[in-house]
Amino acid sequence: MSTFEPKVIAFCCSNCASAAAQVAEQACWQLPSNVRIIQLPCTGRLDSLHVLKALENGADGVYVAGCMPDSCQYKSGVEKATKKIAYVKKLLEDIGIEPERVELFNVGAGKAQRFIEVANQMVEKIKELGPSPLR
């Protein structure tokens, strides 16, 4: 199993997380190659179906990188995403898929180190869980 390289999808807020990604790039901090980023204008746009579809189509893990709870540019976008992720986790639990395959992280604008950290953390977690049973 040590050779397992998970496929992870990250839904990122175009304000905070993307700014963090830019800073990370400038600092030459590498995002793990397993993580594929999908930009959202705001994590409030996230739909439960986005997460489910990603899993259905072979992602081993899905996470959302959004703002800090009190600094969403659209006030409550990340709060909405948090509730949707909780909903999806419950749904996954009910159908026997590890809810840990789905996560939400509050990153914060420009926090490059944290942005890279959560990506690594998620990849590690998924490596622990092993490949998605849907593969």
Binding site: S48, L49, L52, E56, D94, I95
Partner: protein
């Protein structure tokens, strides 16, 4: 609107245990508004079912379709090519319970309800719906300041409030407003408290479900 909520996914999965190909039908009426069975919910349920079946290693195909309504035969007819032409083994309906009954009447395949139809109500805020009507068939809310004691009082009292009303809440749960407290306050605000001193007579429930299944006929609307 008719308010409904999705059945627990495990219950739905148990219903689908023996099938490989199903038609999942949503409804663009009430259940879309109450976020229980519209296009979006059809997508989520279909995806969840596929994931669950894939995990079990069982092939499973879901055809997704959301109809204008499921309480009129002409819309039910629209899925005939799918049901009859694509080898669908079962139909799972995400409408209120009228939908699956219409589908069952029309098609010769097993039909399952994906929702529990809960009540006739409205939204209190985003994501919260409450019961307002019990369809008794003879509306009397104007005697009670526009508040229905039948649907909203836990005991359907017509001469309340009972002794369990405390601080505006019902004895059944602090989550429930005492309908009679609301009626009292409303009638007071309307300057109509006098009307509450009259005893409301025993209700004729024959217009309700107690008279047997009901039917509304409009001769002028018939073709």
């Amino acid at each position: 609107m008719v308010v409904a909520e999705r059945k627990p996914i495990k219950e739905i999965l148990a219903m689908m245990a023996d099938y490989k190909k199903i038609l999942l039908v949503g409804c663009k009426g009430c259940v879309t508004v109450c976020c229980a069975g519209g296009t979006k919910e059809v997508g989520i349920l279909a995806s969840a079912l596929r994931i669950a079946k894939k995990k079990e290693g069982k092939p499973f195909e879901v055809i997704e379709k959301t109809l204008e309504r499921q309480c009129d035969p002409e819309y039910i007819e629209q899925v005939a090519p799918i049901v009859e032409g694509e080898g669908v083994e079962a139909i799972l309906s995400m409408a209120c319970s009228v939908g699956p009954q219409y589908l069952a009447k029309r098609y010769n395949v097993p039909v399952y309800p994906a929702l529990n139809t809960t009540f006739i109500g409205g939204s209190l805020e985003h994501g919260v719906w409450a019961e307002f009507c019990q369809a008794c068939g003879n509306c009397i809310i104007h005697y009670f300041g526009g508040i229905c004691p039948i649907a909203r009082c836990s005991k359907s009292l017509l001469n309340g409030p009972c002794g369990g009303s405390a601080g505006g809440k019902c004895e059944v749960s602090p989550e429930i407003d005492c309908a009679w407290h609301l009626i009292y306050e409303r009638m007071k605000a309307l300057g109509k408290l006098d009307e509450l001193t009259k005893i409301f007579p025993i209700k004729d429930w024959s217009t309700s479900r107690d008279g047997g299944p009901r039917k509304v006929v409009r001769e002028d609307m018939k073709l």
